[in-house]
């Protein structure tokens, strides 16, 4: 594929490398050797990764990464609304991840929707004697107190794997006795190098325990699809699902934002999987392709340019009736999006943004900023793999800095050199950069706003970016005395 090479004035491979080298000066030789391959200037023409990724974090450098449990509970399993998700182990992990991702849910909490914190609250005696008995009892209690739950996931925290509990066996027995799917997920936080392995393990448990266990009662039609890797952050799925439906497609299930377990279990019947977050769910797309022959397509719902491109790419896979509907949808929203751009672009033109998010947004949102006249001058991921960085290369301007599992120190150094007008990253980074006087938006959680996906999301995104950069509060940072 050929892409127009984007350049940023003042940024060359040499200038970027110099900045990287400077940021590494503080490290010991050993740490420098480990960190250096994770930092590089982008080579846009190559279309391939310029950094190493998915490696162990260097101890002590202050990484923003989470763990496998976070990837399983927070990302893949947690958003399924009609299941009880048990954080199995000590109280903390579940408590810290309770309500902090903003994967919104329909339904009535505690009745048919469970945005709550369920835990086995391990005590010393559970560590000594094992927690399997406790698990068996708590599964009964969950079934009794929440009769409308469609299933229960058991998400292991570190101690469970270390003391050798057999949650798989408990899940199997209890599942039969209670007549409810109970999914054991061995996602202990020490496994792997980041959240990413938790995604993979969770995908595998969906493969092993859920998929094919349900069937849609109605006949399957040619336009039946599933939306994969859409987590409904700030209501994103409530923008993308109706958009796909407006294009004439039937979204039979969403994985897993505001998700329903039984519909996820019947997804093997759909005709196409549309994937948004490739990093966290490509595994199951590949499984469904191999096993059930379901093709999959990666789309991008950030910003009008990418949405339009994505919808047309999608239409190519269907007949003319869908193609016509897609064109009608584009024609309907184009002027609305144009009006948004006309309102905000004059205030944002030429502004520079740096990104550091999880596994998708560091590349997927770049064009949405460009729609507003902005440029991305640096981007990186907490837990991406090489294939993510391949995909990033073409989106980022030439020679801009790419950073993998960036340490707080490196990120601060880069921002200090590049002087971005906005940083889009996470809560741990937010206040550091705001203290430096740099406007910031949380790009994991949409900073308590959203949705940002789809045509419904772009006006909110544009408004938030404008609000962050142009807030009059920034002009008051420097005291007159």
């Amino acid at each position: 594929m050929s892409h127009a090479i984007k350049t940023i004035e003042g940024i060359t491979k040499e200038s970027t490398q110099e900045m990287i080298d400077k940021s590494l000066e503080v490290y010991s030789e050993k740490a420098k050797k480990k960190r250096a391959p994770h930092l590089a200037p982008n080579d846009q023409a190559s279309g391939s990764a310029c950094v190493k990724s998915n490696r162990k974090t260097v101890p002590g450098v202050m990484s923003a990464r989470g763990c496998a449990y976070a990837g399983a509970k927070g990302v893949v399993w947690g958003p399924i609304r009609d299941m009880v998700h048990v954080s199995h182990g000590p109280v903390g992990c579940g408590w810290y991840s309770w309500g902090t991702r903003r994967n919104l849910m329909s339904g009535t909490t505690g009745v048919d929707s469970f945005a709550m914190q369920f835990t086995s609250d391990f005590q010393e005696k559970d560590i000594v004697y094992g927690g399997d008995k406790k698990l068996k009892t708590l599964l009964q209690e969950a079934k009794e107190l929440f009769p409308l739950a469609k299933g229960i996931s058991v998400l292991s925290e570190c101690p469970v794997g270390l003391i050798g509990d057999d949650i798989n066996s408990v899940a199997k027995t209890s599942s039969k006795e209670l007549d409810i799917p109970i999914i054991p997920c061995n996602c202990e936080g020490f496994r792997g190098v980041s959240q990413s392995l938790g995604h993979h393990i969770s995908n595998d448990t969906i493969r092993d325990y859920i998929i094919e266990t349900r069937e849609f009662p109605e006949p399957i039609g040619p336009y039946d699809i599933a939306l994969i890797g859409e987590y409904n952050i700030g209501g994103d799925a409530w923008s993308t699902k109706p958009l796909l439906e407006e294009c004439g497609l039937n979204v039979k299930s969403v994985w897993t934002g505001d998700g329903e377990m039984e519909k996820i279990a019947a997804t093997h019947q759909v005709k196409l999987n549309v994937i948004h977050c490739y990093r966290s769910m490509n595994y199951m797309c590949k499984v469904m392709e191999e096993k059930y022959g379901i093709p999959w397509i990666e789309l991008n719902f950030f910003g009008p340019t990418k949405i339009k491109e994505s919808l047309r790419k999608l239409a190519e896979l269907f007949d003319d009736s869908i193609k016509e509907k897609v064109e009608a949808v584009i024609a309907k929203y184009d002027p609305i999006m144009q009006a948004v751009i006309e309102e905000y672009k004059p205030r944002l033109e030429g502004k520079k943004v740096m990104l550091y998010v999880g596994g998708l947004r560091p590349r997927h949102t770049i064009n949405a900023y460009e729609d507003l006249g902005m440029s991305c001058v640096g981007s990186g991921y907490e837990f991406a793999h090489g294939d993510d960085y391949d995909r990033t290369s073409v989106e980022m301007p030439e020679a801009t800095v790419v950073y993998d599992d960036v340490s707080e120190y490196e990120f601060e150094q880069f921002a200090d050199t590049l002087k971005p007008d906005l940083i889009g990253s996470g809560i741990k980074e937010k206040y550091l950069f705001q203290k430096m006087g740099i406007p910031f938006r949380q790009m994991h959680s949409w900073d308590y706003s959203g949705p940002y996906h789809g045509y419904l999301g772009f006006p909110t995104f544009a408004k938030d970016v404008d609000m962050a950069i142009n807030s009059p509060t920034w002009s008051l940072v420097k005291a007159p005395f």
Binding site: V91, S120, C158, Y209
Partner: protein, 489 residues
């Protein structure tokens, strides 16, 4: 392949509306409450976190100190983001990032490499090490590991590296605070006791308290007395630093020299008897001067007791300014009593705060009807009961130890109250019960600036009371019919 549970394949079903309605009503019944309280193993919506979170808070309270979590790296991210969300401030902390091989070989290599990097990159004056689950389970020997780290020169031999074992499967965040604070003080004061020396200062410990306003309030009180002090584990600057265009990784905290010299203090006052228990026991045996452990001063009586104790320890009268402040607080209490008298409250939180809420409410003639501690003890239960027994407004109030916020939900929907007091996590139960939640606890994730509004002392009493009474008046204004919508309230 897909069906490891061997379940029968079934059609996708939708739960009928009538069934949802039935269950929605059922979870509000006495019958459900009984089932809910019969739980022995499942914990739902607990109101406590794990030990290392508290350890990190204590570490942030010292000058130039980098909290360092020995364990899986995800733990560190969880602790940091909790503080980021509550304070809306940076919370730098490092991790030894243990992975699978750590489970096999132990975490020493990770710890050593981590200490070396953290020391080199972030240039701390002290690194406070504490553990999460993994090293606790595999039995890492922190004492030996840290000794070896110094031998290997990962950090200089004289560099302070206090460390605490803070397993998450034991106690909760307040115990981690206690353990870390104890280790920091032990480390810094080693060899610093000087026979005959007295700093003339008061050493103050606030206990696990994530309200920066409280810290500033304590200082104001001591300054009004004119008493020199060392505030140990002082997070007020760390988590309330000015935005001036420069990021400072260590913006505040107790000066390490002052902390070291605190062992020669004139007196040491540990507030929060539950979150400073171990530290205080050690201080009593090791610190010069007098030692007092007291409750956190919520409400008038507990503030009076604190001021009288300070007065006694330093032989100084309670200053006029504080006497006047007391008078103003009492003035408000009498002005406002009619809006709170007899109102029923459900309160939950950490033991030290809980005791404070209860005595404050009883002073106002309000009823702490449901009192819940998600990590309590028999001792706490007794102490709470004694407070209730001492007041006619404590009659028929109920104490629930080691229950959670799903129990609390059953309580407030079956045996209603007018309001709840606690942290943000109670908002779900409060919404279901259609009552306001006063966010005085930790964490507060859904309101701005509340961590800066002091709750302790006379000023704190004024703040809590105006928040509560004005909210009740708002509710009257919002819900009354037109005939009763009046100018005056």
């Amino acid at each position: 392949m897909a069906n490891n549970l061997g379940l029968a394949v079934k059609p996708v079903t939708e739960t009928p509306e009538a069934e949802i309605k039935r269950v929605a009503e059922w979870i509000n019944t006495e019958e459900y409450k009984e089932k809910n309280f019969a739980r022995t193993s499942l914990v739902i919506n607990p109101a406590h976190a794990c030990q290392p979170l508290g350890a990190e808070l204590a570490a942030h309270g010292f000058e130039g100190t980098l909290p360092f979590v020995h364990g899986s790296q995800g733990c560190t991210s969880y602790f940091r983001s909790t503080f980021n969300r509550h304070f809306r401030e940076p919370a730098p902390a490092a991790s030894s990032s243990m992975t699978e091989d750590g489970a096999v070989f132990g975490g020493q290599n990770n710890l050593h490499e981590g200490l070396e990097n953290a020391y080199t990159i972030y240039k701390p004056k002290m690194i406070a090490v504490f553990t999460s689950c993994m090293p606790e389970i595999i039995g890492d020997d922190l004492t030996a590991f840290i000794k070896n780290a110094k031998q290997k020169e990962c950090v200089p031999a004289d560099f302070p590296t206090p460390y605490a074992n803070t397993p998450s499967f034991n106690g909760c965040h307040i115990h981690g605070y206690d353990a870390m604070l104890l280790s920091i003080l032990q480390t810094l004061t080693t060899g610093k006791q000087v026979e005959g020396r007295c700093t003339g200062k008061l050493n103050l410990i606030a206990g696990f308290d994530a309200n920066t306003g409280n810290y500033r309030e304590y200082k104001r009180i001591l300054e009004a007395f004119g008493i020199p002090y060392t505030f140990l584990a002082d997070i007020s600057e760390t988590f309330d630093s000015p935005l001036d265009g420069h990021y400072k990784i260590y913006p505040g905290g107790t000066k390490l020299d002052d902390a070291a010299d605190s062992i020669n203090g004139k007196a040491t006052l540990a507030l929060g008897t539950y979150s400073t228990a171990k530290t205080f026991t050690w201080i009593k045996d090791n610190y010069s001067g007098k030692h007092v452990s007291m409750p956190v001063p919520f409400g008038i009586a507990k503030t009076d007791a604190l001021l009288m104790k300070i007065s006694e320890l330093f032989g100084k009268p309670v200053p006029e300014s504080l006497k006047a402040e007391r008078g103003r607080a009492i003035d408000l209490m009498t002005d406002a009593h009619q809006y709170i008298h007899g109102k029923k409250f459900a309160v939950y939180g950490d033991p030290d705060y809980l005791l404070g809420y209860v005595s404050f409410l009883l002073e106002m003639g309000a009823r702490p009807h449901h009192i819940m501690c998600s990590k309590g003890t028999k001792k706490l239960e007794k102490e709470l009961q004694a407070l209730l027994d001492a007041s006619m407004y404590g009659k028929d109030c109920n104490i629930y130890m080691n229950k959670d916020l799903w129990h609390m939900r059953s309580l407030v929907v079956t045996d209603p109250v007018d309001a709840m007091i606690g942290d943000s996590h109670g908002k779900f139960a409060a919404r279901d019960a259609k009552i306001p939640l006063f966010r005085f606890g930790f964490p507060i994730f859904d309101r701005v600036n509340l961590h800066r509004v002091p709750l302790i002392g006379y000023q704190g009493t004024i703040n809590m009371l105006s928040t509560i009474c004005n909210k009740f008046i708002d509710i009257t204004d919002e819900t009354c019919d037109n005939r009763h919508f009046e100018l005056m309230r």
